[in-house]
């Protein structure tokens, strides 16, 4: 199917008229689908908060797989699951492709400056391996945590604890260790480190 679409786009290119709708052989384009997300997730996926997550800059795979999780209910949600049920896996991949291309803008939010240093240390020790470059990198298909809205991160952590969202095995281990050694104060410091990101 990919090849067919590519050939089609070549034909469109040759005719000198570029239309995004032609990209999906009759269905809505990646742009058309992704533009509808802006009402909650912000223009180009940069949420102005206070709680809905920013989805720009995430990897295509992260968005695709997360949306699949919302759709099949393995990730708890308020409204996202209901909306995810309106799309196919291919459309999730199209959204992922669109938002992966958008530049992430860090959330402007309050944080406790006294906790940032401690949070940075804990991040390096427990999280940096997957959430690389101070959790600013989308590589390894992990979520970008730096500059993400704190309430959303809190909701997600709470869902992990409640078992309504599943952590990867690696993350489970690290979070367990972090909790044992640093407790809630450690998690709080970590969140303040992510909130400080510009």
């Amino acid at each position: 199917m990919g090849t067919k679409i590519k050939m089609m786009s070549a034909a469109v290119l040759a005719s000198g008229v570029l239309l995004s709708g032609a990209a999906t052989a009759g269905g809505a384009s990646a742009e058309a689908i992704s533009y509808t997300c802006a009402g909650c997730h912000g223009f180009n996926g940069n949420s102005t908060g206070p709680a809905t997550p920013t989805i720009s800059g995430a990897s295509q795979e992260y968005i695709t797989e997360t949306m699949k999780g919302y759709k099949d209910g393995s990730i708890a949600s308020t409204v996202m699951g209901r909306i995810a049920k309106g799309y196919t896996d291919e459309q999730f991949a199209m959204m992922g492709e669109f938002f992966a291309k958008q530049k992430m803008v860090a959330a402007k939010q309050d944080f406790d400056a006294k906790l940032v240093k401690k949070g940075a240390k804990l991040h390096d020790k427990y999280c940096e391996k997957c959430h690389a470059e101070g959790a600013t990198s989308a590589e390894d298909d992990s979520g970008i945590l730096a500059g993400q809205w704190t309430p959303y991160l809190e909701y997600t952590l709470s869902d992990y604890h409640a078992g309504t969202r599943e952590m990867s095995k690696k993350m489970k281990k690290k979070v367990k260790k972090l909790n044992e050694k640093e407790g809630d104060a450690g998690m709080k410091a970590l969140l303040n480190f992510y909130a400080e990101a510009k």
Binding site: G39, T64, I83, M94
Partner: protein
């Protein structure tokens, strides 16, 4: 949830890489006169369409004509009435659109000549167009009830457009004595923002419970049922003693005393079919039809709304004019700000394509609508729509209401998401 693996990534990347190989909305007007689009009305539909046309094709000249310098949203205006937020917090100027290269004209459109393709304003200016997008919102049927007309809104505000009347209603509520009665009269279908009157009752009840707990709200409905009814009823029971002797809110359906025939400004009474009800505050939300210019321009049907084609939102009455937002007949899309935004983006893409001599691309539509019943208690309804066989259709299995058995935690999150929704959709439209 399936695990994220490199193998999965390869599986999905084929299709999406193909999609990425087609540049989106590349300008086509190289050489030749630039195309002109005139947008009539600067609400959610009009402002979004103007901005997205400029984003999709910067070679198109977009002029937006709107009489107000500051637009106040209807959504979240109930939080202004309850004193939760300021009127300024729901006000938006057109500076953002200007930064995207939209020419903003502060004027009122008086006529649209579909034959000559010219828009004329009250101040006598003319604006020729290749395509026109009309997003006029709603207007009101002032002759629906005896004794009720536009002249009484200072005393009996409808407050259904965000703005001065929102402030009037807020001030009336703040000045009302403890033990006072508020009468809300929601309109018959169809109307803008179906859950709005019931969120309004909730927000007012929240204010009254904290400040004037002996007061009552009587909703005299012109319908038998309403949007998100189960969730509202559940919330009212929880927070406002609904259906007890001490209920702060009483809802009368059209057949159980809700239906009204007259409004008396001097006595501050509403004449119902069964009883005449006296209110310290009366909030009649009148029956609605498409915004005034849609009627003047001959874009409406005999019911007062604008028939359109569901893919392009081009009027089925006048060619080269697209009608979006509350004024359009876009069912099953509701008359909501989110739907208007979705319609505007689809229409922008269609207009850009059609101006270039191409076909309108396949549209994508979503609606998400929040209501805040009390502090920490938000609810929502959502739906994904597609375009099939010439019609807008709901995507089967998608959308629906917040679950009735949601936890307190989830209701609290929905309130936070409601406020996030407000910030994001207004930034997407006016930013």
């Amino acid at each position: 949830m399936s695990k994220i693996t490199r193998r999965n990534f390869l599986k999905v990347s084929g299709a999406s890489m193909a999609a990425a190989s087609v540049a989106a909305y590349t300008p086509f007007a190289i050489g030749g006169a630039s195309k002109k689009v005139v947008v009539v009305g600067g609400g959610m539909g009009g402002a979004t369409a103007a901005k997205y046309i400029r984003l999709m094709d910067p070679s198109v000249e977009v002029t937006l004509i709107e009489p107000k310098k500051t637009y106040h949203t209807g959504f979240m205006s109930n939080e202004v009435i309850s004193g939760e937020r300021t009127l300024d917090s729901i006000g938006f100027t057109y500076d953002g659109l200007k930064a995207h290269g939209v020419t903003v004209v502060t004027d009122r459109v008086s006529a649209i000549d579909a034959g000559k393709k010219v828009v004329t304003t009250e101040s006598g200016k003319s604006f020729p167009y290749d395509r026109c997008i009309v997003s006029p919102g709603v207007s009101y049927k002032w002759d629906a009830y005896e004794g009720y007309d536009e002249s009484i809104v200072d005393k009996i505000p409808h407050a259904w457009d965000g703005g001065p009347q929102t402030a009037t209603l807020r001030d009336q509520l703040a000045a009302m004595k403890d033990g006072g009665v508020v009468v809300i009269v929601p309109p018959p279908n169809p109307f803008r923002c179906p859950p709005g009157p019931y969120e309004r009752a909730s927000q007012m009840a929240m204010y009254l419970k904290a400040n004037k707990p002996k007061s009552k709200i009587i909703i005299m409905d012109q319908k038998e049922k309403f949007s998100k009814q189960g969730l509202f009823t559940q919330g009212w029971k929880r927070h406002y003693g609904y259906e007890t002797d001490n209920s702060m809110i009483e809802w009368l359906s059209s057949t159980t005393g809700g239906k009204i025939s007259a409004v008396n400004k001097a006595d501050m009474t509403v004449e119902g079919e069964m009883d005449t009800v006296k209110g310290d505050i009366i909030n009649v939300i009148p029956p609605q039809k498409a915004g005034a210019i849609a009627h003047t321009a001959g874009l409406t049907n005999d019911k007062g709304w604008c028939p359109v084609e569901g893919k392009t939102f081009e009027s089925t009455i006048h060619k080269n004019i697209h009608v979006i937002g509350d004024a359009a007949i876009a069912s099953p899309l509701p008359k909501s700000g989110y739907a208007a935004s979705s319609e505007a983006k689809a229409t922008a893409a269609a207009v850009v394509a059609l101006l270039g001599g191409g076909d309108a691309p396949h549209p994508a539509y979503v609606n998400t609508c929040y209501s805040v019943i009390a502090h920490g208690h938000g609810i929502s309804v959502a739906m994904v729509y597609d375009y099939k066989d010439g019609k807008i259709v709901k995507v089967k299995g998608s959308g629906g209401l917040s679950p009735m058995d949601a936890s307190d935690e989830m209701r609290a999150r929905e309130e936070q998401y409601a406020h996030s929704w407000f910030n994001n959709i207004t930034n997407d439209t006016f930013g």
